[in-house]
Symmetry: C2
DNA sequence: GGTATTATTTAGGCATTCCTAAAAGCAGTC
DNA sequence: GACTGCTTTTAGGAATGCCTAAATAATACC
């Protein structure tokens, strides 16, 4: 049953449920409503429809969890989205703060054939321009990164793994700093009382707010004295 | 007022009205319904909506004609469609019998920014893979070709200008014959009583039905003995 | 010119997806 | 264990875009 069996709305709901589920387990109506920009009442209605289609398990007042069928579709939509983001950035030079909006629309009308062609032209990439992993055709997706830049202690180094693509302005800020996936970062200082981190990127130091640093995931963390 | 101010349905109606208008002037409800695959009753309803939006002039029982505003939008949609077809064929190797279906969906979600990028990557092409002209950004579009392959007499030569993209099977047939825009063709014989034409393409002769030849437009017609 | 045929519109509905306002459930507090 | 505040659902409705069946207008024919 291909993606196109489901409406754009259904696809976006499933994709969003998948994202929230990764972060916080069971998905509450209000959280989903907030993320989608719809009213909670509308979300309740759609949730019932998804449950009737066996795409989510719904427990009234207790939120939803994706069924295997629902997860499969969610992963297909996410694959489309991230492949498209990558393609737009790489093949057409679209700035990384704009690829998300474009992909949000295109993801719903991409054929499987074109998906394969794009995948091949890009050389079967594994991440999107923000560092988020692209699900494989079979629906495989590596677990999310657990360490954030804001979790690092003074003196620790790491590699940027992923940045949040939820806010274009923040992406432009990251680009300015040279903060992008694959780049090495060192935490020079951490101010107390939730204050800013001083980080070194490309031998340049920057002060970044604690909250913003929470939108950056890192991997390969090492402490000052070697390991 | 950008394209996205109008629904996908409105965009497809305007595009289709434009096409029919080029062929036959005023656009009758039934013809439009037939082309869109909707019932005449549905088309009447939408026509009223388009008239209320000042996109068409509607005379009950007499069909519609695009207003300048409607024509502008139609040309934008057609520009999207043909640019996308060209891009899919050239950059992603999509076979020319499949580009239409893909473009039919993508045309509605293409941003102006991405349109410009695609245009630039392709080197500002003037025709789609089927030879149809791509409207310029300002809405300019050359007049349609008037001569069809089926209009040629025995002994006449011409250059293929455009082939109809309405039927994927026919496009595959054309591809097999080597019949594509830019290729020279010579009519070797014309069978009587509406019979087939014998045409030479790349020094190979083929018999093609009169009806099929009506779906091919030509230009630069010359008769056997020079001009 | 009247009748048959065809084209078009009107009437009434349905599916989808969203909304606001109001009711009801849930959970923590005292 | 009742109250309170927040979450969630229910009720009722709107917009869009499609449908079938029935009525009506236009046209073509004799
Ligand atoms: Mn989307
Ligand atoms: Mn992304
Ligand atoms: Mn379309
Ligand atoms: Mn075409």
């Amino acid at each position: 049953m291909p993606l196109s069996e489901h409406t754009e709305s259904v696809q976006d709901y499933l994709k969003t449920i998948f994202d929230i589920q990764r972060e916080r387990g069971r998905v509450a109506t209000t959280v989903l409503a907030e993320r989608l920009g719809n009213s909670p009442a509308s979300v309740t209605g759609m949730i019932k429809k998804l449950a009737a289609l066996n795409l989510v398990e719904y427990e009234p007042y207790q939120g939803v969890v994706l069924t295997p069928a629902g997860e499969k579709i969610a992963l297909e939509v996410i694959r489309h989205h991230r492949l498209i983001e990558r393609y737009l950035a790489e093949a057409l030079g679209v700035p990384w703060d704009q690829v998300h909006a474009e992909a949000e629309k295109w993801e719903h009308v991409l054929s499987e054939d074109l998906e394969d062609r794009i995948d091949a032209v890009l050389g079967y990439p594994t991440t999107d321009p923000h560092g988020a992993p692209i699900p494989k055709r079979d629906g495989t997706l590596p677990p999310p990164h657990t360490t954030r830049l804001s979790d690092l202690q003074s003196g620790q180094s790491a590699t940027i793994a992923e940045v949040s693509d939820h806010d274009p302005a923040m992406l432009r800020y990251f680009a300015e700093l040279g903060l992008r996936p694959g780049v090495d970062v060192t935490v020079v200082a951490v101010a107390p009382f939730g204050g800013p981190l001083t980080v070194r990127l490309d031998d340049v130091e920057h002060a970044v707010g604690r909250e913003v640093a929470g939108y950056v995931s890192v991997c390969d963390v090492t402490s000052a004295s070697g390991e």
